[in-house]
């Protein structure tokens, strides 16, 4: 009987003892089980990391483009995290239910960093809601009564140095780490750029965040400026 490396067994299959057959079968089953578990683990992994451009899937390139443009003196996020409805709690545990009740389909998150000080940051949360009405509803739910209106998107306000707005079916938080004037100005500028990208369809033209689920995207090289 032919085998690996052209060797031949000295015995025919009928001559293999029952014990050897059982051991062989167990080894084959174990190997198959390990392979199945390995594949299942890889498929169910909580994060999918990839370089922009290395996977030509429109669903994944959208968030990178959405948060690609940074003001002078700032780096755009070099990592974008996406969360589907089932993973939203991982980012905003305790608050996720409110968003889900308003039809949240997912979240895209990234952090802009000041070139002169990496501790100065601006976080951007882009919540993709089911409809523009849902985006407006959750925006109004969270809006403080005394908030200062800002001319941005369909509706916007400032709270300290942070900016909150909705545009189409998106509700967006732009949150500087601190409260100084430079960060506040950067937050306004970043918010304006995100509005621009949303109007260009950077997010809408791609598959929904919901379909992307939990993912981590990294730009090849430093973020755009």
């Amino acid at each position: 009987m032919p085998t690996f490396f052209g060797r031949r067994y000295a015995r025919s299959l009928e001559q293999v003892g029952r014990g050897e057959q059982v051991v062989g079968a167990v080894i084959l089953l174990l190997t198959a089980g390990i392979v199945v578990a390995f594949v299942a683990q890889l498929r169910s992994g909580p994060e999918v990391a990839f370089e922009a451009g290395t996977m030509d899937t429109r669903a994944r390139s959208g968030p990178l483009r959405l948060l690609s443009s940074a003001p002078d003196g700032w780096h755009a996020p070099n990592q974008i995290d996406t969360y589907g409805p089932d993973e939203l709690y991982q980012k905003i545990d305790g608050r996720a239910d409110t968003y889900l009740e308003h039809g949240c389909r997912g979240l895209t998150f990234g952090t802009y960093t000041a070139k002169d000080n990496p501790e100065r940051t601006v976080d951007v949360y882009v919540f993709e809601m089911r409809t523009p009405g849902d985006a407006e509803a959750v925006y109004r739910l969270e809006k403080p009564a005394e908030a200062d209106a800002v001319s941005l998107g369909t509706g916007a306000y400032g709270a300290g140095s942070a900016v909150f707005f909705y545009e189409q079916a998106y509700y967006v938080h732009v949150l500087p780490a601190g409260g100084d004037a430079a960060e506040a100005a950067a937050a306004r500028e970043i918010a304006a750029r995100v509005v621009e990208e949303l109007r260009r369809g950077s997010a809408r033209s791609e598959a929904a965040t919901e379909a992307r689920g939990r993912g981590v995207m990294r730009r090849a090289g430093r973020g755009q400026e």
Partner: protein, 341 residues
Amino acid sequence: MAAGLAGAGGYWLRERSPEAHDALRGQPPSLVLRDYFAPVTLPPDAPRIAVAIGDEGQFEALVRAALAGLDRERGVRRFIGPNDVVLIKPNVGFDRPPAMGATTHPELVRWLVRLCREAGAREVLIADYPIESPEACFARSGIARVAGEEGARVVSATPRDFAAVSVRWALAGSLLSGWPVFVEPLRRATKLIGIAPVKDHNLSRASITLKNWYGLLGGRRNQLHQAIHEVISDLAVLFSPTFVIADGTRVMLTNGPTGGRSTDVRPGGVLGRSVVVAATDPVACDAWCYENLLGRDPAELTYLKLARQKVATAAALGRCGFGESDWRAYNRQGLIVTTHV
């Protein structure tokens, strides 16, 4: 050999899955958490709640005053002694900077670590299990940096550090019975201190010292949201800390527990000044903070009512500690002290 390598690889990946400890669920609880309050001997008239009120930035003075208030004679030395291994459990649940008030202020953690050291603690551990990237949360909160500067050790969680625990004291039917808990640092510690920001919470209405223990639960804990008040009240019995501290330096009054707006946060909440509250009765501490910092009526807070009942049941069965959701009862007995720093 290939099968062996594949097996080893699969095991390695599986061990690193954040949900790996879900497998613990349903197993018989094998561990009973220690009662960290039991070794403390308090005089009967010792304050249960000590409130320190000051200005923004007075972190050292606020922590010292609050802890001195719990024991005028010995301060923190009443609770922490030589050779203690102290576990500090802050709220590091979000990847947000300190100013947003979603996490415990790092400077309070700094001074708590120092006071534990001054009292002779052999080692100070800091642990939390954020659902988000723990590294990012500890870094952004400033607590990783403070821990490094003060010689405390941040204990990172791996799936092997979780175990199903027994919810003692006749709390049969608790959702937490058999739930995976980040036990490794608890096993090592001889004293346990919870230090939590005071926050509005979308589901439970408040996140203070009792909800803080939620951060040591593993598994898909968002599933517990369906019965949030039951779960938080169970935490009042499951965890028996040496003492707790409520961080009222930035109280999140709205849009909790994440916040994000400067208008969501105010020093001392409705009190309007920075506050640090130390307490040996976590239930009363939450009640005090709910009324005096969040400006709401504790009688309407379901988890407090449940916690009071459960702690009373546990006490009747021999557990140490208190569980007074009516902080005014302590006030009438002179068991609340307030210090202006």
